[in-house]
Symmetry: C2
Subunit: 662 residues, 2 copies
């Protein structure tokens, strides 16, 4: 059968106002990078060695095995193909899609921790083995009883000056390491975070290099209990593990000693700054913002293409059934998340570029920018992952019943991406970190200090609203002002609330807790303001082709207006916006959606996800949904025989017995 | 190990202000029913015949087999135990939990359709077989290309007067039946919905009794292609199926002829009313409202108990880590959904009782109440299932990382319950049905007609707000008034919007589409008003013990206030509420949460779900979470051996090769 494109989708592409390749270039950083990306993706997707049955037809154990096999193969091939470090992620994402892989923590946490926290002698000892996968490591921090709150970790590393060793212990059940990826079955090493004790004194959590399995037969070493934590919502492709240690001794040299040090006699040397780890956190959180953008981009690609192929109901008696995307309610479900995908994509880029700039400052010893960056990144991580969670599910449900089938790719996408709201700092805790920085800055500004960077706008807050004037609610300047006013006001209100709680007799911790809902609200508004402002600023790029700056401006307007009407109370409460403004905003949204409608498919095509990464029958580039839905179903396990074995085992005797009794 | 209760949970139960059994009685309809419920649940949960490995450790195919086996056993046991029809659901839910079962459609749709739509002769012919499970049927309506829009169904039943048969056909791919539960592998019969054609003329969808598999060997009959549609997000325990028919002939007598009829010569007799099917729909939607309440009740039970067991972070330096539920942000995540669970529980009860009352009216030929009931039930189904979806996920994420493990029970709960937003009428379509009735009623009231029932408040709408006065935002009367005003205003605004679109030159279908976002908003406000009002009305029950009416009142206030601050723009936009009112509302929420905090565990205990139904390590009644988390993990498939087989297959050669190259 020739790969003809579904005529509805074909028409969509013919009618769009711009060339999606231009936006692809804008999103990925230029045509050369897009070219490289496509080459590497195609190399991976056309490689027969990576092919396998649909993951959705496998048990969890089979999925783990499949991914272990694929990932090891990928390591070997990346080496053989000499793919540049900077380009590997394109190849990798084509091989593994949005699934985590058993070596993910080795590459993403174990190696970076060695780079960042091992001394030169330690690097000389371990890096070559680790970089060449002669050992496989993971990063064992989270415990059964403690996640985001690191200081609460219970695993102990007690220094024994007599033997110059650390004695590692899991003092109780909740101290068991729990969740680290690749720990259950794959890794033979790990960086273990444990509370350091010297001469009975606690020095807080430190990283230790620990071998957990034999290099000969992969059996757990003496004193080590290790295993898989069992099946999860998603992450079927990876062995999240548990680990308990019973008097495991490691040499003193196994504490990673670039920053803190323990001398042979047990003398402890403090790290130069406790804020140094912030840099890595900012990087990881920027990655999660990127992941959130990717998740929304994939979900909207699937849902928008399918909504052009799917025809349903009767809008007008006697006329053909319309494409589902012609329903304004469907546009209202999908377009705001399309806009959010773009907004977070650009937010992640800005965060990465700020991180790079500040990294070079930090390497020169200037860490002044870190607290602000750290606080901002926490809020953006939380905001983007929350929105992505809701958006992926909105997209799934917008695909009706078929969205619920694994054929759509959406359930797996959601199950694999939703942990972003929990890992690397639970979202509410993240928002409260941002809020803490906002309160500190706000108080500084009250004391006359001039604020800079992302919180500069808190200086000289004017909580008095500018009422009474008419506004053009499509103007991005007007919208940014409104978001800024709202954020400043909510920061002010949270501070007032905090003060009131103190004045009512609560101590600081209780007052903070009592005001915490308002504090989260303020941090959310601050983060949303940043995202809207950043989107608007990116549009001022003078190199932007006008055909794409027009459509991107519409997306930015939609993003800002949708957030505004969804949270309209925040803007109305002090009279900053009027009911008329909000009604205007709603009318503008309708008009913008009508304008975006013919460009919707081109806007998702521009994300440039090949079918092999989308993994969705509904989101196929060619739109041949229904044929492939049937083909996919026929290949599924229950259809291996016309009459399933369960008939002979259970159904036949049951039916015969019932018939006999009639 | 003695089953001691976790001390934190024990203390929670000791400190609650009321006896949870009193609320259990209130929720289930009296102590006798609760007694019966507990007896039947315990009978099922202690029956060794129903025991099996954890479902989360099984492949989808194994889960289907397990449920087929269990369900057939249940049919036999229910018969042997002579369990009353009215009580069977207690026994059933203990056997299957929140999982669908392969006979679910036989009992829930196939039999009821025969009761409701078969003529007496047809009942005589099929009912005995069906009731005694000598045949197993399903209800085949949804097609690959059409779901909610029934008139779009493409399967044809063409009458052949020569042979007095219907010829059934699946004229194209999208006409394949798709999704019916139990269709793939289990059923040998189905009620097929097909477009009736007589002498080339179409008469719309009608139900036909069709045998699809042989009663001898279960093979598909000639002309029948049938199979499973493949794995889904959830519903692993059931074989949702597809079905294509190729010139399958059935006798004329197989059209279900209680309402419409086809005479031997092809003469068509119309049904007395097209609205008769509304009754069943109301019933099914009330069931979904109940399901939504159950889903939220289970999710909050798990999350609230776990939040009392889990201790985390340092609120106050040097003090023990607090229970997670002591964080106000955690309360703000969970308590509104606890309140919503109660709100929807009571909404479902009211709907069922209205359905019962109206059924007897309908059976007397009075169908006047049906359109209103139908419209109201559509909105309530959509509202409750949407809130349940968001709430289940909020509860899961409130359990942090462990919520993501299948050990928590929450991912499976979500995956099994989320289809409620899609099946039996996609939610947005449902809201627009409600909106259509609201517009009709609103226009009638403009023409001076007096409205009754749930829309009576639309008569004489006064869109002018009552501003300027101070209100007690805790007063349920004030809150109901505010919800009523908002609903009336949004209905008015949607009507204005619709009129404006018409006046701007759009025809009715285009105007309706253009106003549809506002129409959904109005229908949502109408539905929310009903839920709040119904909750408040149920509290006026004079038989309520004061200890429980106090706590239920707090839940009702919280439910109303939370909806108000979440949608504060709706109340502020026309000045009906002031910024001060909304700020008051937020303060009241904080105070209510503090008052509910000591009763939270008792309030979820009152839902009375045994551990065997919760299926959650985190939500266990005894709170012994961590021990069982480890025990559960150790039993999972990847831990059958210390060194997984994949090591020998893939990891060993990879590591050895890399080591050799060092």
């Amino acid at each position: 059968m020739a790969a003809t494109v579904n005529p509805d989708l074909k028409k969509e592409r013919e009618n769009s106002s711009f060339d999606p390749n231009k936006i692809t270039s804008f999103l990925y950083g230029g045509p050369e990078i897009v070219k490289k990306k496509r080459e590497l993706e195609s190399l991976a997707l056309n490689d027969p060695d990576y092919q396998h049955e649909d993951l959705n037809f496998m048990s969890q154990e089979q999925q783990y095995e499949t991914f272990l096999k694929k990932t090891l193969l990928m390591v070997t091939k990346v080496r053989e193909l000499k793919i540049d470090v900077a380009d590997r992620h394109f190849y990798r994402s084509a091989v593994i899609g949005t699934n985590p892989d058993p070596l993910g923590l080795h590459v993403g946490m174990f190696l970076p921790t060695l780079y960042g926290q091992a001394s030169q002698e330690q690097k000389d000892k371990w890096l070559k083995m680790a970089e060449n996968f002669a050992i496989i490591g993971t990063y064992a921090q989270t415990e059964m009883g403690h996640g985001t709150f690191l200081r609460g970790l219970e695993t102990t590393a007690t220094y024994d000056p007599k033997t110059q060793e650390f004695i590692l212990n899991t003092p109780n059940l909740t101290a068991s390491k729990w969740w680290p990826g690749g720990l259950g079955k794959t890794s033979n090493y790990c960086v273990l975070m444990a509370q350091l004790y010297i001469h009975g004194k606690s020095y807080g959590p430190h990283p230790f290099m620990v071998q957990i399995r034999s290099l000969q037969d992969h059996k757990p070493l003496p004193g080590v209990t290790v295993g898989d934590i069992g099946p999860k919502f998603g992450y079927d492709s990876i062995d999240n593990g548990f680990l308990a240690l019973n008097n495991v001794r490691i040499p003193r040299e196994n504490m990673l000693m670039k920053h803190s040090k323990v001398a042979p006699d047990g003398t402890y040397v403090k790290p130069p700054s406790s804020k140094l780890a912030y840099g890595t956190m900012v990087f990881v959180r920027a990655t999660i913002v990127n992941d959130s953008a990717t998740a929304l981009a994939i979900a909207t690609t699937i849902a928008i293409r399918y909504s052009c192929v799917r025809r349903q109901s009767e809008m007008r008696p006697g006329h053909p059934e319309p494409q589902v995307l012609d329903y304004v309610t469907q546009q209202y479900k999908l377009f705001p998340y399309l806009a959010a995908a773009y907004a977070f994509w650009l937010t992640g880029q800005t965060m990465m570029s700020v991180y790079t700039t500040s990294s070079s400052q930090i390497s020169k010893g200037d860490i002044s920018v870190l607290p602000e960056l750290h606080a901002l990144s926490a809020g953006l991580k939380a905001l983007s992952s929350w929105v992505a969670n809701v958006g992926m599910e909105e997209c799934r449900m917008a695909c009706g019943g078929h969205g619920y089938s694994h054929a759509s790719g959406l359930p797996r996408l959601y199950a694999n991406m939703t942990p972003g709201a929990t890992y690397e700092g639970e979202n509410t805790v993240m928002m409260l970190q941002t809020a803490r920085y906002l309160m500190k800055s706000y108080n500084q500004s009250l004391q006359g200090e001039k604020l800079a960077g992302s919180v500069a706008y808190l200086s000289g807050v004017q909580p008095v609203p500018a009422a009474g004037r008419t506004r053009n609610m499509l103007d991005l300047g007007v919208l940014c002002d409104a978001y800024r006013h709202r954020a400043a006001r909510l920061v002010h209100e949270a501070a007032v609330q905090l003060r009131n709680e103190r004045q009512a007799g609560k101590d600081q911790p209780d007052a903070w807790n009592a005001a915490s809902v308002d504090l989260v609200k303020a941090a959310m508004a601050h983060s949303q303001y940043f995202v809207v402002k950043n989107f608007a600023e990116r549009l001022t790029d003078s190199t932007l082709d006008s055909s794409i700056s027009d459509v991107l401006t519409r997306l930015c307007q939609l993003h800002a207006l949708h957030g505004l009407v969804t949270n309209s109370g925040d803007f109305l409460e002090d009279g900053y916006l009027t009911g008329t403004d909000v009604r205007q905003a709603r009318r503008h949204i309708n008009a913008l959606m009508a304008k975006l409608r013919p460009d919707a498919v081109a806007l998702v095509d521009a994300f440039d996800f090949p079918d092999g990464i989308l993994n969705s029958v509904l989101g196929r580039y060619d739109g041949n949904v229904y044929e492939h839905l049937l083909e996919w179903a026929k290949a599924s396990p229950l259809n291996k025989t016309d009459v399933h074995q369960s008939y002979h085992k259970y159904l036949k005797p049951f039916l015969e017995d019932n018939r006999a009794k009639l």
